[in-house]
């Protein structure tokens, strides 16, 4: 068996074993995610961006001894179906969160496994089930990667620094790929939050979200990436404002991306939310028409704490040889015991 596959299997095996051996608390949730829609470019679709229809689970445990909690484990897996692929490639196992975190103190925790890089909004907002995503997919190429992280919290700020292999969903390393990221931000319990991020790495370009079998590698050459980023969120009454900005280089191209989003909770029916997002990724700021903007209007209706229905209409303005696209998707999402 491939040694990298062995490492992943060993990590996954650790979860039930440690659950059985230590004093622990947590939950096991089943997940179902069904997406359907229509695209002016692709016709009928059953995916939204990188998110396929899927079923899966989340296993989350906190381990403790006489002196308190010392270890957290999270495993989030999906079996996904992509009807745009042939029958042999349509099914795939996606490993999203798969990490163990050991607590040394409030100021230092060490995490290992598969988790979000320490850059931008992605590590502080939960996009696992949402139709609207952050800039991470355009900016880094993926929103989770394999590696190690140190993080901690001080009274006035949080920090996290990650060293990952630069491959995203699948476990592969080639052409010296790696991803080093750092984010320093305000505590998450404030109505006004902000963060400052740095990134340096050589990342692999892939297509698809599958971990097993491995997603498709688009190029054997890694892309040199350097970034500086700012992000923020502000909660004011029924409005939540989100923003993200990143600037840097991809090989020899200067790149820039930004995102603005407003989430409005209907005060009279607080299980209904409306979202408006505008994001743009410019793959070379010195070349005109290298801008890739998209506008999305979404809504979410929560049927219960476990179940929600979402819908989104997005207009991709197109760039260079790509035509503009209108897309409408609906989503049924369930996460519960």
């Amino acid at each position: 068996m491939h040694p990298k596959l062995l490492i992943v299997l060993a990590l996954i095996t650790l979860f039930p074993v440690s659950w059985a051996l230590a004093d622990s608390e947590g939950f096991f949730y089943k997940e179902a995610n069904l997406i359907a829609g229509y695209s002016s470019r692709d016709g009928w679709i059953d995916k939204n961006g990188m998110m396929n229809s899927s079923v899966g689970f989340e296993l989350y445990r906190k381990f403790s001894g006489d002196y308190g909690d010392f270890l957290i484990a999270d495993l989030q897996m999906r079996v996904a179906y992509d009807s745009s692929k042939n029958s042999h490639q349509a099914w795939g196992v996606e490993i999203h969160n798969a990490w163990l975190e050991y607590k040394f103190s409030q100021y230092l925790k060490i995490r290992g496994g598969h988790f979000a890089p320490s850059f931008g909004l992605e590590p502080v907002v939960d996009t696992h089930s949402t139709l609207l995503q952050t800039l991470a997919e355009q900016d880094i190429g993926f929103n989770k990667d394999w590696g190690v992280q140190m993080r901690g919290s001080f009274p006035r700020f949080d920090y996290e620094a990650s060293m990952q292999i630069g491959s995203g969903m699948s476990v592969r390393r080639q052409d010296g790929s790696y991803l080093a990221t750092l984010r320093i931000g305000t505590p998450k319990d404030r109505n006004l939050q902000g963060g400052f991020s740095l990134l340096s790495g050589r990342t692999l370009e892939t297509e698809g979200m599958s971990t097993f079998p491995r997603n498709e590698l688009l190029s054997s050459d890694a892309v040199n990436k350097n970034r500086i980023g700012l992000d923020g969120q502000y909660l004011y009454g029924p409005f939540l404002f989100k923003g993200e900005f990143a600037y840097g280089r991809d090989d020899k191209n200067d790149v820039l991306g930004y995102l603005t989003e407003i989430v409005y909770t209907l005060p009279s029916h607080q299980n209904i939310e409306f979202e408006l997002q505008y994001k743009s990724w410019i793959s070379n700021i010195h070349v005109s028409s290298s801008d890739e903007p998209a506008l999305t209007l979404g809504t979410t209706y929560r049927l219960s704490q476990s179940t929600k229905l979402s819908a989104a209409f997005s207009h991709d303005f197109g760039m260079m040889d790509k035509k503009p696209e209108d897309r409408f998707v609906v989503q049924f999402y369930f996460l519960g015991g």
Binding site: K30, D69, G237, P267, Q305, S306, G337
Partner: protein, 196 residues
Amino acid sequence: MKKIFKILPILVVLVLFASSAWAAVGCSLNDPDRDVNRIFPESTGYKTTFVTIKEKGGETLKKEVEEKLKDKLEPVYENMDVPYAFYTVLKGKDSIGYIHGVNQKGKYGGMQLIMATDLNGKIVDFYYQKMSSPEAGKFMNIKFTSQFKGLTLDDFIKGNIFANDPSANSPEDFRATLRGLKKNIILLDLLLLSQK
């Protein structure tokens, strides 16, 4: 359209999932390490437990909560399956206090009310982890939140609460805060303290 029919097996599984639904976790601390150290500087750690009304007493316990609260629990967001996260604060191996949070519907959106108590359930600190109000700053100000220090379940049951509404135009959020805090201290008593 054929693509849609290809995902029929997923739809079947999905229906099976929905038929056995439990709720996702209620209100947990964003950063328990920082909060525990801030509220209990002498602490050396904490231990997390997840508890539901269903597993600790079911329908009977739910009725007891509602009787003490003098209000019905909301069937979607406050049902018996919601797991509550309790943090038992430790000094060495000894317990020195508890921290527990609840979600509460406010005027403009959800609020998260976090309460810390001593071992007897007397409030030693209270703060909002999330507050959706244009006047959030007034509610989150320590001048307001500190008025609840020293209160016990008895004070909430007997109505011995003398805190004033800090807002100009959000009395609904003030009433929601009182309900959320009362719910919090009742749940702490029935799900944790009375079980010991």
